[in-house]
């Protein structure tokens, strides 16, 4: 069996005095889609952002416990955070392309990390856009401004940009919540395809979306991990009454 892709042990997170994550023990399996659900303020985005140290720059933020990705403790001293984020990519709620061409958006990351010949660049551009299911729609206008794309296309461009540096893990924070149903369904199809290549962890407010696309689901509430298990179990027959209350809407 493959080792867990991500392993959080006794993870605590604080924003100043606010205890945002309380002793999270979670093992995320590789090459699967893991969804994180829970009401606003439950700590799900904080947890996601802990997985590539996106919270580091927030004043007053600190963590205890550990997060291992592969064999490495990502909070150990001397960890190269840039290298970590190459390995653990991220896609946000609102598409955030750079004010550059489609081509330059995709190649931005790879160019930072190493020198690429023109041919290598072309190949990487095409393969990344294909993996993000965007190639056919943009192949004739790779030099066009990224902002000329629709919202759904911009989001897939951001996914292509994240994939271009070949991460092992892709974190997605509500990647479809700003998109219409058709763009959402394209992103969801894409996530299902990506799981064959990499580990996806997605935070979503949309329970039906979590049910559609994920293999595992984690339910967070008030900074605690309440329940983690196969998605079909979480939505058909959850073990914890708090999960039951949340997924049936009998909440609060």
């Amino acid at each position: 069996m493959e080792p867990d892709a991500i392993e959080a042990d006794g993870l605590q997170a604080y924003y100043g005095k606010t205890h945002a994550l309380k002793t999270i023990n979670l093992r995320i399996p590789p090459r699967q889609v893991t969804a994180i659900i829970g009401p606003s303020g439950c700590g799900k985005s904080t947890f996601l952002r802990c997985l590539n140290r996106m919270n580091d720059t927030i004043p007053g933020f600190r963590v205890e416990g550990s997060v291992h990705i592969g064999d490495a403790d990502i909070y150990a001293k001397g960890v190269d955070v840039v290298a970590l984020r190459r390995d653990v990519g991220m896609v946000f709620q609102k598409p955030n392309p750079f004010p550059k061409s489609i081509r330059d958006n995709v190649l931005f990351g790879p160019r930072l990390h190493r020198h690429l010949s023109r041919r290598e660049q072309d190949e990487l551009l095409e393969s990344s856009l294909r993996r993000a299911a965007l190639w056919d729609e943009v192949k004739d206008r790779l030099g066009a401004d990224a902002f000329s794309l629709s919202g759904g296309q911009q989001q897939r461009l951001c996914i292509a940009r994240a994939l271009a540096v070949n991460p092992r893990i892709l974190l997605m924070d509500e990647p479809a919540s700003a998109l219409d149903p058709i763009a959402t369904s394209k992103i969801e199809d894409l996530i299902r395809e990506l799981r064959e290549q990499l580990t996806v962890v997605i935070v979503t407010h949309n329970m039906q979306q979590a049910a559609r696309i994920s293999d595992q689901t984690a339910y967070f509430y008030l900074g605690e991990l309440v329940e983690f298990g196969p998605t079909n179990q979480i939505f058909e027959n959850p073990r914890d009454p708090r999960t039951e209350a949340y997924v049936t809407g009998r909440f609060g």
Binding site: M207, F235, E236, N237, T243, V247, T248, G249, R250
Partner: protein
Amino acid sequence: MTRQFHEQLTTLQQHVVQMGQLASTNLVEGVRSLADLDMALADRVIKRDGDINRLDVEIERDALELLARNQPMATDLRTLGAILKMITYLDRIGRYGYDIARAAQAMKGKEHVRKLVAIPHMAELASAMLNDALKAFETRNEKLARGVFPRDEVVDAFNDQVFRECITYMIEDARNISTCAYYILVSRHLERAADNAMKIAEKTLYMITGERRLKL
């Protein structure tokens, strides 16, 4: 939105219970119409089958609408899944009552070979199983649902007994054959009705616990 959904789901559950009560009545009265050769009662049973059928269609329509509009999860999902199967079982039980009432009509002007004992008793057993399964469904009572399962075998045993008895009467006197053929059919309908009552208890158990009971 969610509150409205849960109210609608509760109403739907009440309709299932109503449908179940009609099906149970049809079974018992179908057999009574046969035992007493009461043609007026047989007519009422046959008419009631149409009501049961209508409820089947309406509940299915409402359940699908609730699924489509709310995409329910967990216990709500299991409840709707259970309901969609239960109404088919209830419709069949109601139909067995109808079939038995038709047998009573077919026997109009004839006499019973002997006073019916086992068949009315089977109807009581099957309808008691159904009533308990419905009560368990209505009150989410796991123990009551589980209590239904072993009783199916008793009805099966009566069915075998009726069959053997009828063979004896038919051997004794060939004029008994057509009446006894009805008894065998009716007994088989009651055995099937008990089976369906057990399936309703199984779906109720699934709704309450998520447990799927497999046939051994």
